[in-house]
């Protein structure tokens, strides 16, 4: 409506926070709690939302999404739980090794790509490992509102059962835990068969588990819209490649350990993004010209889009070949 349209900013709104507590939960997982620097209450959030944490790792900016796992009704703090990934690109290692209580960090406003369907008569949660985090907030919300839910939680071992004690002591009849090392497994088919009409299923965990739940539910006649999942992908390393950004009129190099989106940002080109994990669709970019193979890893584009070679999600996807020109 104005003479000059305003350009949308990349990423969500930001909040300056202080690390108020660091609580190791077991060998792999640590909880980080944040309070606001300006003393204001945190914005309320809907269960299932995530925040993107900005890390300044020796001059290199890392932006990683983590599910908010604190009680959505508590506006005094936000909390995330981070699993250490020794093989990963370093974000979780930075959180575990470098971040100290009292430090200032920047996080984004909550963004929800994994909301509860509030029409649901009952909510069945299927968690695998660190996939428990969004369900912590969902359970707190449903307990307050009197909603029906149950949790089936697969962990590697008792020692790595993040929040198992807290959950089972508070909700002994709603929480079911399965330990891999005891050869226990979720009896998914029985579980799906016994649910009342209007039940929604939510799964958060490794990719294999998510596919297993979608496939099994579909085979048992569940409508797609009653089965919800969230998986953030970490960008994977790959061979360096060269990209031409035609709008910006520059050619950039994408290194082995950085994502295409990170390389674009490093070269000073502003690109839209939200989740940085292949789920939200914000960074979708048109391909102008390509001679080579795409390595598509996102959950956003459909198979036809992937096959067309006309679009790429630079947060997680890569390219191998001679020429790639993007409309950016």
């Amino acid at each position: 409506m104005s003479a000059a349209p305003q350009k949308a900013k990349a990423g969500a709104e930001k909040i300056e926070v202080e690390v108020s507590a660091i609580v190791p939960l077991n060998d792999l997982v640590t909880r980080f709690e944040f309070t606001r620097r300006d003393g204001l209450p945190f914005p309320p959030f809907s269960a299932g939302a995530h925040t993107v944490v900005e890390m300044n790792d020796d001059g290199r900016t890392r932006l990683n999404p983590y599910s908010l796992m604190s009680d959505p009704a508590d506006s005094t703090k936000y909390a995330i739980s981070v699993r250490r990934d020794d093989e990963g690109r370093g974000g979780s290692l930075f959180m575990h090794r470098k971040v100290k209580v009292g430090e200032t960090m920047t996080i984004t406003y909550p963004v929800n790509l994994f909301p509860l369907d509030l029409r649901g008569r009952k909510h069945v949660f299927l968690a695998g490992g660190i996939g428990i985090t969004p369900f912590m907030a969902m359970i707190a919300y449903l307990e307050r509102m009197g909603g029906a839910w149950e949790l089936h939680y697969a962990c590697r071992s008792e020692a790595l059962g993040t929040y198992v004690d807290e959950l089972t002591s508070r909700h002994p009849n709603k929480v079911h835990v399965y330990y891999d090392d005891k050869k226990q497994a979720i009896a998914l088919e029985d579980l799906l068969d016994g649910q009342p009409l209007g039940t929604h299923v939510y799964v958060c965990g490794p990719q294999g588990m998510i596919q297993w739940v979608h496939k099994t539910a579909a085979a048992h006649g569940w409508p797609d819209e009653n089965v919800h999942s969230e998986e953030f992908l970490a960008p994977q390393p790959g061979k360096p490649f060269e990209v031409r950004l035609c709008k910006s009129d520059i050619t950039i190099q994408v290194g082995e350990h950085e994502s295409l989106l990170e390389a674009i940002e490093r070269c000073g080109v502003e690109a839209p993004f939200l989740c940085r994990g292949g789920a939200c669709g914000q960074c979708e970019t048109d391909v102008v010209e390509a001679d080579g193979e795409f390595i598509h890893r996102d959950h956003w584009l459909d198979d036809d889009d992937h096959a067309s070679g006309k679009k790429i999600m630079p947060c997680v996807s890569r390219f191998v070949g001679k020429t790639l020109v993007l409309d950016r």
Binding site: M1, A3, K9, S46, Y109, P110, D117, G281
Partner: protein, 355 residues
């Protein structure tokens, strides 16, 4: 500034009037001398001081009278406000957003005192002082959405977001440009936009949906839409078309300046934090032709836009039959001089009418 609230009606004797202040701040929707659909979104983060874009929920001289008109519509037809069962939380989100915004933006008119879930809301222009428990419906005289939107100008559509789609699952709709909440309730974004011509072919709605699904908490957006209304009617609903449709045939060259109104909607979009629903306030501003043409730039431009508008759009907006009479009137205020870019009146720089 302190607002002087008008005593006026939007029906029967139509005593609605815009003051000079309201004319100068009118959200004129045309940034150039022609109009075509576009998604035309921008961020809703304030605007020039005194403009309708400055505050999150604009309050103007029509506030008290508009709320009185809404109460009349609801008394006749309670289905103008509906909320499907899963939308109650979004109703509380809406109540919170409006109460917090108004008490911060207009502290002399509205106060909100919060002690945990115990909230006291004071609305001075409407003489309300009410204490209630947040998230406890039994402490309000009606649902949270109805409660707060009986105290806030403009219509409110509350859209549930699921499976990458928006659904019209709640709303308060009494000042609408010929659409019905009762008809649209539960529809998805493409279903309720189905009657709009041209825009589908242009891919407008696909792009708009993508944008709206990504409106994030803390980053509201806005756009303008417009149409034409004969007489300053807020309630131009399909339900009451038999009452107002016929008034379009009462225009004459003598009364067109005072009877014909440009109707502009300031549409804003907020991601609601607790429910993840999308709040879509649609604020209606009316201005008589005779008031628009007191701003020389707007008089010139409105003539050119209406003259060159594609026939489909003039038909859809419901003024194709009256267009020749409108052009006869408006052409008197178009001297052919160029106009400055942008929507603002530019009274200091634009020349007065040269004829």
């Amino acid at each position: 500034m302190t607002i002087q609230f008008n005593e006026e009606t939007f029906r029967d004797d139509y005593s609605f009037r815009n003051s000079d202040w309201a004319i100068k701040r009118f959200p004129f929707p045309f940034h150039e001398d022609s109009y075509m659909y576009s998604v035309n979104m921008e961020q809703h983060r304030g605007g020039p001081e005194g403009s309708v874009y400055e505050k999150r929920f604009d309050v103007d001289e029509h506030y008290v009278s508009e709320m009185r008109d809404r109460a009349i519509v609801l008394a006749d037809d309670p289905l103008r406000c509906q909320s499907l069962p899963h939308m109650t939380l979004a109703g509380w989100d809406t109540l919170e957003l409006i109460m917090v915004s108004k008490s911060e933006d207009y502290p002399d008119l509205f106060e909100l005192h919060r002690d945990g879930d115990r909230w006291r809301w004071i609305n001075k222009p409407m003489g309300i002082d009410h204490t209630f428990t947040f998230l406890d419906e039994t402490t309000l005289p009606c649902g949270p959405l109805e409660y707060i939107t009986r105290q806030a100008q403009g219509d409110y559509a509350v859209l549930d977001q699921r499976n990458d789609m928006l659904y019209m699952d709640a709303g308060m709709i009494t000042t609408q440009a010929d659409w019905s909440l009762d008809f649209d309730i539960g529809m998805d974004f493409f279903e309720w936009h189905a009657p709009v011509p041209l825009a589908h072919e242009m891919g407008i709605f696909k792009r708009a949906l993508k944008f709206l699904l990504n409106v994030q908490q803390g980053a509201p957006a806005r756009r303008l839409n417009w149409t034409m209304t004969v007489n300053p009617l807020l309630d131009t609903s399909p339900e009451n078309y038999h009452k107002w449709g016929v008034q379009k045939s009462t225009l004459t060259p003598q009364n067109i300046g005072s009877k014909q109104h440009l109707r502009v909607e300031l549409q804003t979009f907020y991601r609601l934090p607790r429910s993840n629903a999308l709040l879509f306030p649609i604020r209606c501003y009316l201005i008589a032709f005779q008031d628009i043409v007191t701003i020389p730039k707007w008089g010139r431009r409105l003539h050119r836009v209406i003259r060159d508008l594609p026939e489909e759009l003039a038909t859809y907006k419901g003024f194709i039959d009256n267009r020749p009479m409108m052009l006869d009137y408006l052409s008197q205020y178009d001297d052919g001089l160029p106009t400055s870019p942008g929507v603002w009146p530019d009274l200091d720089t634009e020349p007065p009418l040269q004829k």
